[in-house]
């Protein structure tokens, strides 16, 4: 597994405290930048550091964050999934569509909605399986498969919903996306926390986690060590799709409608968070904690710009520049490591 420590040379005896300090700072560069950012933003806007605003940030990053954690697996395994944004829309549409159809056939709305949620999760898992099989059986690049799926699923969601939001959903459904715990903590943030803990534990403490790093680090070495590389790839493709389905359900619940164009462009945010968090697109490295920092980073910047009345489109510019900047820092660091 990739530890912080593996990314820097070993500690050599007789090294000065200063060099060790520099190395420590280097290792936590993202944390430091984030801290700076928070200080600066809180100076520009007094409202920033209020509990309400912080919870607001958390709510805003929750749904893309769930996808980003799943995406971390995919990227560590050396793959990519560009279709997740469309899955978000599709999964909401499936929930709402099944709820409407079944309740019109006489089922209670509650049962119909539960059926809808189940079908949504299962079908998205099958989509991941499909992507994974195309990847492993036919050796197609996941970039191309999921680029196709990005459009395919978007179109499918639009066709299924006739292009209109489907709003027949039971009242309790709104709890997932809009509810709060103790009247303060947003429920999506709880989902985010749960997914964070599960993925962090899996990646750090399980055999599967190790296999994911090995698969992305060097698939041939992993295969010759007896790791089932294809199995790993299929599973990560399923994981990210299920994460996207959960995000889609939360979003449809927040708005109380299944709408096909929900989640448009979320793949960008999710992938950005993973990359800013230090993962390499060539696979083999990345951390859930890093992705979490990347996520907060993006959330804080977006929030700060909104608070300061920065134009929406400018936010796109900043987000794009951030990704390039993050990758640039990573490249420089790894170049220096290799000497």
């Amino acid at each position: 597994m990739k530890d912080n420590n593996t990314s820097v040379p070993s500690v050599k005896a007789g090294e000065s405290t200063a060099t060790r300090l520099v190395r420590g700072l280097n290792r936590h560069v993202l944390e430091i930048i984030l801290l700076f950012l928070i200080v600066i933003v809180s100076l520009t806007s007094p409202y920033f550091l209020t509990a309400g605003n912080l919870l607001n940030i958390l709510r805003n990053v929750s749904m893309t964050g769930i996808i980003a954690f799943g995406m971390t697996f995919v990227i560590i395994a050396g793959e990519i999934d560009l279709s997740v944004g469309s899955t978000v829309g599709l999964s909401g549409v499936i929930v709402a569509l099944i709820t409407r159809e079944l309740s019109e056939k006489g089922m209670s709305v509650t049962n119909a909605c539960i059926a809808g949620i189940s079908v949504s999760l299962i079908s998205c898992a099958l989509l991941g399986l499909f992507n994974g099989l195309l990847r492993t059986k036919f050796k197609m690049p996941s970039f191309i498969i999921t680029l196709g799926m990005l459009n395919l699923l978007y179109g499918l969601a639009a066709v299924l919903s006739d292009g209109f939001p489907i709003t027949k959903l039971p009242e309790w459904y709104s709890w997932f996306g809009a509810g709060t715990l103790f009247d303060i903590i947003p429920v999506p943030a709880l989902f985010l926390l749960a997914v964070f803990i599960i993925t962090a534990v899996v990646i750090r403490y399980t055999r599967f986690g190790r296999s994911v790093y090995a698969t992305g680090g060097n698939p041939e070495s992993a295969r010759l060590s007896g790791i089932n590389v294809n199995f790993v790839k299929i599973i990560v493709m399923i994981v990210v799709q299920v994460c996207s389905a959960i995000a889609g359900i939360l979003l449809s619940s927040q708005v109380m409608s299944g709408t096909f164009n929900f989640g448009r462009g979320w793949e960008m945010t999710a992938i950005s968070a993973v990359i800013i968090g230090g993962a390499s697109l060539s696979g083999g490295s990345g951390k859930i904690w890093g992705t979490f920092l990347g996520l907060i980073f993006l959330g804080v910047i977006s929030n700060a710009m909104t608070l300061n009345g920065v134009d929406d489109y400018v936010q796109y510019i900043v987000q794009g520049a951030l990704i390039i900047g993050a990758v640039l820092i990573n490249s420089i660091q790894s170049k220096r490591r290799k000497g």
Partner: protein
């Protein structure tokens, strides 16, 4: 009539002298073989002459003019063309486009396909190569590609043509066609430099033979006045064989049995037995099918027919994961690309093959993992400040030990070592061999493959000889000299007996 003179050519890499003051000359109208074992420096010489490397000192002259190359393109334009073993053709382009790659004839700035095709056709015809110039290269067989490669080189009208192992991937009748073309080049007054490790073909194709050993020029001889034995002893000199420990025992018990195993195009009808505690060597040149054989037995690659008996039963369609579970291990030939995950830590790399044992319920047992890591770091004397540093930062020898340790952690009963000593220093080599003997004392059976045949003498109790994908026989190290073994691998002479017919080891046990 032209002449290529090499004077005092020296190439020093950090830590090693690849070529030491080599002087030799090659005249036109003849085919000059250039031979030497792996790492002798012949490839380095080829690379310097082709402009892809610069000499540390010394110079070479073509028809009296001193040559200075800053690139391979330079060498081509000055009249030295080189065809490498790894072909450099672009599969998606046609034969014509490949021949004139980067210098297609143009008319008013636009590529003149008509002229290109015509010139390509003329060139192929002149060389007596029967290949359609319009075909895409991806549809051609290996030897046809080789021909296109030669045609491409000849389109530069070179005075010198260097061929690096041109027959290594060709079948016998294809070799004939190649030779026909090489001979026709001789008529065209070209200086042909021909690198090969297939000794027997040198008498068919070459006029002279230049031998390099350990970077030194050993001699240049006329083929017609040279015997095979003479050439072999020039190539290998006197080889010192280290003593093998005396206490190694081979049991009668067969732990692995391979019968009539065939993988099309790689190896054919291979049968052998491996005994408990035995260290078995497979001797063969590059491309003889040794690596492919090990991988197929290990379940990492498929095979077409034949049977494998392991752990007391026949393995129907063995998979790597199952073979590993039953106690088989393989340290691959190319440790950087097949054996290690370079950016990961030493600790992780020592545990990848034993992940299942380290996580019986899916969760990694950290304590046990540390135990596994420490055990190997200590037992194999892996020199590392901390097991958490990345394995890519280690020396070759230590990396190889990590590969071995990764597999020892699976507690194998049969271990395959594919080129375990490649690119590591003498000390590390000895340590790796000692590890193999230690395993043998514990009853682990090993198969070792090495291009450095003298290592097999040092390490193994029995040696199988592989040539062109077939096991042609076996021998005990005591019965052979290194030179005769090299000669057998290169197609000269027959082994003492067929595989599996020797009884010496067994009688030793019975007494």
């Amino acid at each position: 009539m032209s002449i290529l003179e090499v004077k005092g050519l020296t190439k020093i890499f950090p830590g090693t002298v690849a070529l030491n003051d080599v002087s030799v000359s090659f005249e036109s109208g003849r085919v000059h073989a250039l031979v030497g074992k792996n790492g002798s420096g012949k490839s380095t010489m080829l690379k310097i002459l082709s402009g892809s490397q610069k000499a540390t000192s010394g110079s070479f002259y073509l028809d009296g003019e001193e040559m200075h190359f800053s690139s391979t393109a330079d060498a081509f334009s000055k009249g030295i063309a080189t065809v490498y073993q790894e072909l450099s053709l672009v599969p998606g382009l046609s034969v014509t486009e490949n021949i004139f790659l980067g210098r297609m004839p143009k008319k008013r700035g636009i590529i003149d396909y008509r002229r290109a095709r015509k010139e390509a056709r003329e060139l192929l015809e002149e060389l007596d190569i029967d290949i359609d110039a319009d075909l895409p290269v991806s549809g051609l067989s290996m030897w046809q590609r080789q021909m296109v490669e030669i045609a491409k080189a000849m389109s530069f009208n070179p005075r010198v043509l260097q061929l690096d192992e041109p027959t290594s991937s060709l079948a016998r009748h294809e070799v004939e066609s190649l030779f026909k073309i090489v001979r026709s080049l001789r008529e065209k007054d070209v200086i042909v430099i021909y690198v090969s490790h297939k000794l027997q073909e040198l008498w068919e194709i070459a006029d002279t033979c230049t031998v390099i050993r350990d970077g030194e020029f050993i001699g240049r001889v006329e083929m017609e006045s040279t015997t095979r034995a003479g050439l072999v002893s020039m190539m290998f000199g006197d080889v010192q064989i280290q003593e093998r420990p005396k206490d190694l025992m081979v049991s009668d018990e067969v732990v692995l049995s391979v019968r009539n195993l065939t993988r099309k195009g790689k190896f054919t009808d291979v049968s052998f037995d491996l005994h408990r505690g035995e260290v078995l060597g497979i001797a063969g040149m590059l491309g003889s099918g040794r690596t492919e054989l090990l991988k197929s037995v290990f379940g990492a690659d498929p095979f077409n027919s034949g049977k494998i008996f392991f752990a007391g039963r026949e393995m129907h369609s063995p998979s790597l994961i199952r073979m590993k579970k039953l106690g088989m291990a393989l340290t691959p030939e190319d440790r950087k690309h097949e054996g290690l995950i370079l950016e990961d830590s030493v600790a992780s790399n020592l545990c990848y093959a034993s992940l299942r044992e380290l996580s019986p319920n899916g969760f990694m047992k950290k304590g046990k993992e540390r135990e596994f890591v420490d055990r190997q770091v200590e037992a194999l004397q892996i020199k590392v400040a901390s097991p958490r540093v990345s394995v890519g930062s280690l020396s070759g020898g230590n990396q190889q030990k990590v590969v071995v340790g990764n597999w020892l952690n699976t507690h194998p009963t049969v271990m395959f070592f594919d080129e375990p000593s490649r690119g590591i220093d003498v000390n590390a080599k000895q340590q790796i061999f000692r590890i193999m003997w230690d395993q043998s004392r514990k009853g682990v059976a090993s198969i070792m493959v090495s291009t450095e045949l003298e290592e097999l003498f040092e390490v193994c109790q029995r040696i199988l000889i592989m040539r062109d994908g077939r096991l042609i026989g076996e021998a005990y190290p005591e019965e052979l000299t290194v030179n005769s073994l090299y000669a057998m691998c290169m197609g000269e002479g027959e082994p003492p007996r067929p595989v599996g017919s020797g009884g010496k080891v067994k009688t030793e046990r019975q007494n």
